[in-house]
Symmetry: D2
Subunit: 350 residues, 4 copies
C-alpha cells in the first residue's frame, strides 16, 4: 500500500466508468475495508442522472457508494480491536466530533461532515477504501453481506421513527414505499405501531410493503388515502405521518393525513426547494413538523434487530449486479425504476 484498485467513478451526469484509483495507506486510527456488497441508493441515482443531490453538486470525478459491507483488509497502528479478515460495515458520515452538535451527540447534523460518496468525498464502490475506525461496525456472522449493505438505509428508518416518537398502539402513515419507505415501515413495526399504512404509486412497491407487514398499502390513484387512514386510525387522522418521497404533493398531503396534535416527519429531500404549506392547519391543529436527516447512533441497533430477525432486509433486494458490471447495473436500475425495489452491487471474492 498505497495500492491501485478499481472504482466506480461518476465523471459527469450519466457517465459512469470503472477506473483505477489509489487507496492510501491507513493513518493510525484508520481501517482499510474491502467492500463485498454496496447498495445502490436513490441519492446515487440522483447523482448519476443529474450530477447533484440537493446542494451537493458533482464538480470533479466522484467514486459513488455509501451503503457498504466488507472485510477488514488492513488496520492502522492504533487500531487494536479489529483484525484483518473481520466482517464489517461502514457508517459513511464522517462527522468532525468537535462541533457543538457533535459533542451533543447529534452528529448527523455536523456541518463539517464528509459523507462518503456524496460530493466532494469519494465513496465505497471501490476495491479498497480507507475509513476511520470510529465509523466501522462489526458485522455478526448471521448477517449476509447484502444485509450488511442494507444496515445504512435501515438506520435512516430507525432514525425517522425515533424522531417521530412512534410507539405501541400508534397509527403511522408512510408516504412512499421505496427502499427508505420500506425501512421506515419495518422500523415502525419494531417500535410497536398498531397500524401502518403505506402509500405509493408503484404497484411493486406496494406489493413489497404488504409483504413486509403494512396494514394497508394504498395506491392513491385507486383509493383515497385520507379516507383509508381515517377509517383505520381515527376520524381525525393518523398519529404519525412520515414523508419519504420528497415531492411537493406528498409533503402537502401530510397535513391531510395527520390527526390533531399529531406528528409529521419529513425524510425525503424535495426536488422543489419550496413547497406551499397550510401553516394555519399546523397552528390550529397543534401539529409538529419534524425532520430526519441521516442518523446518529442507530447502526448498532440496526445490526442487532437484523440479527434477531425482527426485520427483513433481504426481501427488498430485488436485483444484484457484480461489481465488474456495475455500470450496466446502474443503467438498468435507472431505466427500470418502478420495477427495481433495491439493487445491490456485489464484489467477487478476493
Amino acid at each position: 500500500m498505497p495500492i491501485d484498485v478499481d472504482a466506480l467513478v461518476l465523471n459527469e451526469p450519466g457517465s459512469l466508468t470503472l477506473e483505477t484509483r489509489r487507496c492510501l495507506e491507513p493513518g493510525p486510527d484508520d481501517v482499510i475495508v474491502a467492500p463485498r456488497a454496496v447498495g445502490i441508493c436513490g441519492s446515487d441515482l440522483h447523482l448519476y442522472r443529474e450530477g447533484r443531490i440537493g446542494d451537493s453538486v458533482v464538480r470533479a470525478p466522484l467514486v459513488l457508494g455509501h451503503e457498504a459491507a466488507g472485510l477488514v483488509a488492513a488496520v492502522g497502528s492504533a487500531v487494536d480491536d479489529l483484525r484483518v479478515g473481520e466482517r464489517v460495515i461502514v457508517e459513511p458520515g464522517l462527522a468532525c466530533g468537535r462541533c457543538r452538535l457533535c459533542t451533543l451527540g447529534r452528529y448527523n447534523l455536523c456541518s463539517n461532515v464528509s459523507f462518503l460518496g456524496i460530493p466532494p468525498t469519494d465513496g465505497l464502490m471501490a476495491g479498497l477504501v480507507r475509513v476511520p475506525r470510529r465509523w466501522i461496525h462489526r458485522l455478526p456472522d448471521s448477517l449476509t453481506d447484502a444485509e450488511g449493505a442494507m444496515i445504512e438505509p435501515f438506520a435512516v428508518g430507525l432514525q425517522a421513527v425515533e424522531e417521530a416518537g412512534v410507539g405501541p398502539g400508534q397509527t403511522v402513515a408512510i408516504l412512499g414505499a421505496g427502499p427508505i419507505g420500506l425501512m421506515i415501515l419495518q422500523a415502525a413495526r419494531v417500535r410497536g405501531a398498531a397500524a401502518i399504512i403505506s402509500i405509493d404509486l408503484a404497484e411493486p412497491a406496494l406489493a413489497m410493503a404488504r409483504r413486509l407487514g403494512a396494514t394497508e398499502a394504498i395506491n392513491p390513484r385507486e383509493r383515497d388515502a385520507a379516507a383509508v387512514v381515517r377509517d383505520i386510525a381515527s376520524a381525525d387522522g393518523a398519529d404519525v405521518v412520515i414523508e419519504a418521497v420528497g415531492a411537493a404533493p406528498t409533503i402537502r398531503q401530510t397535513l391531510d393525513l395527520v390527526r390533531r396534535g399529531g406528528i409529521i416527519t419529513l425524510v425525503g429531500i424535495a426536488s422543489e426547494q419550496t413547497v406551499p404549506l397550510n401553516v394555519n392547519q399546523i397552528v390550529r391543529r397543534g401539529i409538529q413538523v419534524r425532520s430526519t436527516f441521516r442518523y446518529a447512533h442507530q447502526h448498532p441497533t440496526a445490526i442487532s434487530l437484523v440479527a434477531q430477525r425482527r426485520v427483513d432486509l433481504l426481501t427488498p433486494i430485488t436485483h444484484r449486479f457484480p461489481f465488474r458490471e456495475a455500470v450496466d447495473g446502474f443503467r438498468f436500475v435507472d431505466e427500470h425504476k418502478s420495477e427495481v425495489v433495491k439493487g445491490v452491487i456485489e464484489f467477487a471474492p478476493a
Copy 2:
C-alpha cells in the same frame, strides 16, 4: 336572575353596539362573573374588521371578549370553594373534558371546545357572564384587574416557550412585538433565555420590547435581522425562533433565523392559508417546526409569576377605555394600530 345586562355585541364587520343581553341562571357547577377589566385582543380586532378569524366566522350577533378579570357575582349549588365577591379570572376555552386529547391533558386541542368570544360562543364583554367553575381561577389581591385581564395572553406566551423548549442560555428570536410577542418575550426570560431578539416593523412595539428586556429589538427595514441574530446567537442562527405575526414573509423568515437542529414555533395565525416553505432546509438542517394553539394548564403558573413580579403585564397596557365607551375604544384601537400596544376595557364599580 336571569338578569338583563349590557353587552358589547358585534353585529357585522365594523358594527359594534352596546346592547341588552340576558345572563342565565347558574347551573350547579357554574359561576356568574361580573367582569372588571377585559383586554382587547388582536383576534377581537380581526373579528371587528373582517367578521372572521381563521375558520371562525361571525354568522350571528356575537358578544366579544375573552381576556377577563372580575368578581364572583353568584355561584351554582355545587360550587363550594368560591364565594360571592371574590376576585377571579376566566380561562375562556371551555373544553369538553371527555375527548381523547382532553383526557390526555392537551385540552387546548379539544375539537369540541366552546371558546368564549369566538363565534358562535358569546364572550366576556358584558355586565355578567356565566362560566363553569372549572374555568375560573382565583386572582390574588396583589394583582390589579388589568393585570388579571392580561393573564390570558401571558398564558399564550408561556405555552409558546414551553412548546419551544426554551431553556437557560438559549438564544430566542421572536418575530412580532405586539401584545403576544411581548408576552412570549417575557415568558422566554422566565425560562432563562440568554438573549432575546425581538423583530417588528412598529417603533412603539420595539421600544416596548426593549423596556421589557429584549436583548435587541430590530426593525428589519433598518437592520438585517438574520445578521443581528447570527451576531448575537451563533453563526448558525438562534436556538429557537417564534413566529407571532401570522404573515407569510415572517413565517418564511423563521428558516433563515434558526440554527441547525433548532426549533421553530408558530403562534400567529396567517392571513394567507398557504405559505411556501423551504422544506429541504427543514430536512437538511434537522429543524423542528412546532406550533402553539392557545394553552393548557398555564393560568396558575401565569398568576404566580405575576404575583412574584417576575414579569410585567401592566407596562404593555397603553390604553384603557370605560365599558360605556367600548364602541369608541374599539374604533380608536383599530385606527391607531401601530400606536396602541394593548388596550383594556374597564368596568365601573357596581
Copy 3:
C-alpha cells in the same frame, strides 16, 4: 333491576365465600357488565392471605376481582355508544377526573380513585357489576374472554416499559417472571428491545419466560444474573432494569444490573416498607429510579396489540376455574404458587 347476583366475597383473611349481592341500577352514564372471565391477580392473593395489600386493608366484606372481560347487560340512559350484548373489558381504576393529576392525563396517580376489588371498593367477581361508561372498552371478536381478562395486567406491562423508555436495541433485565413480569417481557419486545433477560427463582416461570421470547431466563440460584447481564448487554450493565417482584433483595439488585446512565423502574410493591439502597451508586453512575403504578391510557393499545397477535396473553394462563368453584380455585392457586403462572375464573354462559 336492582337484581341479586352471586359474588365472591372476602370476609376475612383466608375466608372466601360465594354470597348474594345486589347489583344497583345503572346511573345515566353507567354500564352493567356481566363478567365472563376474571383473572386472579397477585394482589387478590395478597388480600386473600393477609387481608391487606400495602396500605389497603380489608375492613369490611369485599368482592374481589379487577381483571375482567364480559358482556354488556344494560346501559344507562345517557350511554348511546354501547349496546346490550356487546363484549367489553373493564378498566378498574375509577379516577375522579377533576384533580390536577387527572386533568394532566396522569389518572393512575389520582388520589381520589376508587379501584374495583381493592378495599373499600367491591370488585368484578360477581354475576353483574356496575361501571361508569368511561372505564369500559370494547373487546374485538378476535380476542377470547380470557384474553380480555389479561388486558389489565398487560396494561401494567405497557406502562412499565413506557415509563422506562424502552426502545429498539436496548437490553432490558426484568426481575420476576410472574404474570406481571411476563407482561413486561412481552411489552418490552413490542417496543423493540434487543435482548431481554428474565430473572426468577421458579422454574415454571422461567420456562414460560423462554416460551414468550426472553433472550435469557436465569435462576440466580444457578447462575450469576449480573454476570449474564454484563455478558449479553455490556460490561457496564443493562440499559433498563425493571423490578416486578417487590422484595428488598431484588430491589437492591437493580443497582447491580443497570449500566451507567441507565434506568431502573420499580413495579413491585415491596412487603418491606423500607429497603436499604446504595444511593451513592445512583448519583455517581447517573441512574434514574422511576416507578410504575397501574396505568393510564394503555387499554386501547393493549387490545390492538393482542388483536394483531403481537403478543400472547393466553399462554401464561395455566389454570382456569368455573365461577361456582372460585373458592376452591383461590385455595388451589394460593397453595400451588410456583406451579400456577396465571389463573382465571370463568363464568358459565347465561
Copy 4:
C-alpha cells in the same frame, strides 16, 4: 517550559503544603493556564480531612483544586483560537470523548474521565496548569476572577435543575443551603420556579439563601419542613425536591416533601453508602428519583447567565485567601464550616 511552579499539595489527610511542581510543555491541543482564583469545594475539604471522597482515595501526593479562573499563559501548536493573556475558566472533567456516553453527549458519566483535583489527577491550585483546549472556556471581561471560579459549582446547579425538569410555576424544595444548594437555588430561579424552599441547619447558610431569593429558608430544628412545604406548595408536597446535603436523613426526607408524581433529584454524595428508603412510596405515589453527577454542556450557559446578572455568584463568597496562605486558608475553612459559606484562593498578579 517545562517550568517549576508552586502548587498546593495534599500529602495525607490533614497535611497540606505548598510545594514545587513541574508544569509540562503543552501538547499541540493544550493550553497552559495561570490560575487567578480557585474555589475551595466541599469535596476538597473531604479530601483534606479524610483523604478520600466516595471511592476516590488519595494514594499519592495530590494537587487540589477544580474550580478555577485564570489567564492563558501559553498555547499548543494547534490552538489557533486562544491567545496568551486571555481570561479563561477551566472545566475540570477531562472526559475521553470516545466512549458511548461521551458520543451520546453525556460526558459527565464518562467512566474514563480524569477529573482535575480528584485522585489520581492533579488539580488547579498551582502557578501554572496544563489543560486540553476542549475544556477551556473564555471568560467575558464583565466577570471577575472570583466569579469565574464559581462557574463550576454553578454548572452543578444548572445540571441539577435541568435533570429535575424544573420549570415555570413549580415549587422546589432544596435540602442543603451550602455552596451547591445555593447554586441550585439560583438555577431554579433562572428556570422560573414559583417558590423555592431552602432547608438547612446552619443559620448563615439560611440567611444567604434568603438573600439569594429563597421564598422560605427553614431550619428544621425550628419548623417542620414538610408542613412549610405543604403550606407553600400544595397539600401533597413540592413538585421537585433536590437533595444537596448527602446524608441519610435528608435523603430519606425527600420522600416526605415530594408530591405524588413529583421528581426527586439527588446531588449530594452520602457519607453512608446505603440509605433505607421507603420504596413503596416511590411506587404508589409515582415518584421519580433522578440524580445529577457533575455536569455536561453547562459552562457556556453558566457564563452567559452571570454576564447578564441573572444570578449572583459573588455574594456566596464569604472568605478569600491569598495563594501563599492557602494552607492556613484550608485550615480556617475546615475549622469554621458553619461560618464560611464559600472560600476562594486568590493568586497574586504575575
